[in-house]
């Protein structure tokens, strides 16, 4: 497998050095692996810290900046960061107004953020946590580690970030983040496995004529394998899976997210099918985002996330944001 890297051991550090060079508006601590908006801590503002394994770019480092995250901690590829990184990030963004940890529901992320929260509180930093678990593919969550956090992470980070930017107190930012998570559901499909630098070959074997339905974002296989379907069929299946769990009476935000190796040509085509099925089901779309936002290295495939919004959430979603990965209104 050919990859544009030096050696697997330095992939994350090399990427951070390149990111620092491309984004002088961010403070990138390559050695300690923390990305912080340059003006942090912003006086009187709640700090927002997220993080997770690398390999999901632009998530999370690409979402650091005014109107979204205050800091991000990238771990090794597909491995959650360590508590030291989160503690450092929390200290860097804490202005005294407290810090919200945005955590995707994967065992490693949860355990490390829990440990970091304890350490931060020992240092007198007020911490609140929100767990993102929007993935409807994990059905019998009583017998698993629970629903995974995937595409809704972008909505939580953007909307909570807008509220923090406006000066909302920690309790309010946390409540909004929870509301966004509870209002969001995702479903993903993989057309190919991805290749981690450490392993150098695909993480699972997916024959050319088949696809995985219900994948997460770590290259783990999905819950079901089927013969390859058309874009139309995949849109029907994905939206159906989401609407079985979410009954939107309000307009929704739509994220049609590429896993890393699917071209925009295909993603836009897929979005057309997603919009069609939503219209057929009477769901009103308030805003649509199409692109690679929560990726899985070089995996081909896509996920759909719907987030039901009221006027307040929609206003915060539309508020200005200025990050490497998401930017409007500025």
């Amino acid at each position: 497998m050919k990859m544009l890297i030096n050696v697997a051991e330095t992939v994350v550090a090399d990427a951070l050095r390149g990111m620092a060079a491309a984004h002088p508006e961010l403070t990138v601590d390559v050695e300690n692996r923390v990305i912080v908006r340059r003006d942090a801590p912003v006086a009187g503002r709640v700090g927002l810290v997220s993080g997770g394994g690398s390999g999901h770019e632009p998530l999370h480092g690409g979402f650091v900046g005014p109107g979204m995250l205050s800091a991000a901690c990238p771990g090794e590829v597909f491995t959650s960061p360590v508590p030291d990184q989160m503690l450092r990030a929390a200290a860097a963004v804490n202005s005294g107004a407290g810090v919200l940890f945005i955590v995707k529901n994967y065992t490693g992320d949860v355990l490390n953020f829990d440990m970091a929260a304890e350490l931060a509180e020992d240092e007198g930093i007020r911490i609140a946590k929100v767990l993102v678990n929007d993935d409807v593919a994990v059905t019998d969550s009583l017998y698993t580690a629970g629903r995974r956090g995937t595409g809704a992470t972008l909505y939580v980070e953007k909307i909570a970030g807008a509220a923090a930017e406006e000066g909302a107190p920690l309790e309010r930012v946390e409540a909004l983040a929870r509301q966004v998570n509870e209002s969001s559901r995702s479903f993903g499909v993989a057309l190919s496995a991805c290749t981690t630098p450490a392993k150098g070959s695909p993480t699972f074997d997916l024959p050319p004529g088949e696809l995985e339905l219900g994948v997460g974002i770590h290259g783990e296989p999905g819950r079901e394998r089927r013969a390859m379907m058309t874009s139309r069929e995949i849109a029907d299946f994905s939206v159906q899976a989401i609407l079985e769990d979410l009954d939107p009476r309000n307009p929704v935000l739509v994220l049609v997210n590429g896993m890393g190796a699917t071209p925009l040509l295909e993603l836009y085509g897929f979005n057309a099918e997603v919009q069609r099925v939503l219209t057929e089901r009477g769901v009103v779309v308030a805003h649509t985002l199409v692109g690679n936002y929560v990726t899985s290295l070089d995996m081909a495939g896509a996920s759909v996330t719907l987030c039901q919004v009221d006027e307040e959430l929609l206003r915060l979603w539309n508020a200005p944001v200025k990050t490497p990965g998401l930017r409007w209104g500025v």
Binding site: A8, G53, G75, E76, V77, F78, T79, S80, P81, V82, P83, D84, Y106, T107, G108, L111, N112, D114, M115, A137, V138, D140, Y143, T144, A145, R148, T196, A198, K199, T203, F204, G216, H218, G219, E220, P221, R223
Partner: protein
């Protein structure tokens, strides 16, 4: 009696064994996890050995607490907090004695394993590291060799199980038929006791 040198050797032997088996651990992790268990643990135990050389803690408890803290700071994922907690809590239970008996170590390791179960919420049969550690602790008062055999048996016994914790749990029934990578690395950790003791 077991002294600080013994526990240092335990960590060194574990690091060598994880280094040797890293590729196998990663291969076990790729069908049901995310193909990084070997490389993550290797990074962690390499750091543990380096730190123990530099800081030279002089009691069994201090060796294990330092090793555990180092794993938490370098491994990431679920393995970092879980293995880190295992060693830290075992070390804490040993207190500050300069030497401990094998019985005291067995009791301390049991406390460590209990802490891992509390942190991760896993019970025996969930297809996790617990499936190797619990039988190992039960056998430890016999001998290190017995603990090794019990851990290896426990790891192999995860093959027919359906995962209920960690990333493998998302596969549901498709996790059946694969040996759990965490149970496998735990068996390496336990096996290293025998070699460290020169048995």
């Amino acid at each position: 009696m077991l002294d600080a040198d013994f526990f240092r050797r335990w960590m060194t032997v574990t690091a060598a064994s994880v280094d040797r088996e890293a590729e196998r651990l990663t291969d076990l992790d790729s069908p049901i996890g995310d193909a990084d268990h070997g490389s993550n643990l290797k990074r962690g135990f390499t750091a543990v050995v380096a730190t123990l050389e530099k800081e030279a803690p002089d009691t069994p408890g201090a060796v294990l607490m330092l090793a555990g803290r180092q794993l938490i700071s370098t491994v990431g994922g679920a393995s970092g907090p879980l293995y880190g907690t295992l060693l830290r809590r075992t070390g804490k239970a040993l207190g500050d004695a300069a030497e401990v008996t094998e019985e005291q170590f067995a009791d301390a390791l049991r406390a460590g394993v209990d802490a891992v179960m509390a942190l991760g919420g896993a019970a025996p049969g969930d297809k996790t590291m617990i499936d190797a550690l619990v039988p190992a602790v039960d056998a430890l008062s016999g001998s290190f060799a017995a603990a090794r055999a019990a851990a290896e048996e426990g790891a192999a016994a995860t093959i027919p199980l359906q995962a209920r914790k960690g990333r493998a749990s998302y596969l549901g029934e498709r996790s059946i038929g694969h040996q759990d990578p965490g149970a496998t690395s735990s068996a390496l950790l336990i096996a290293a006791l025998e070699e460290a003791a020169g048995e």
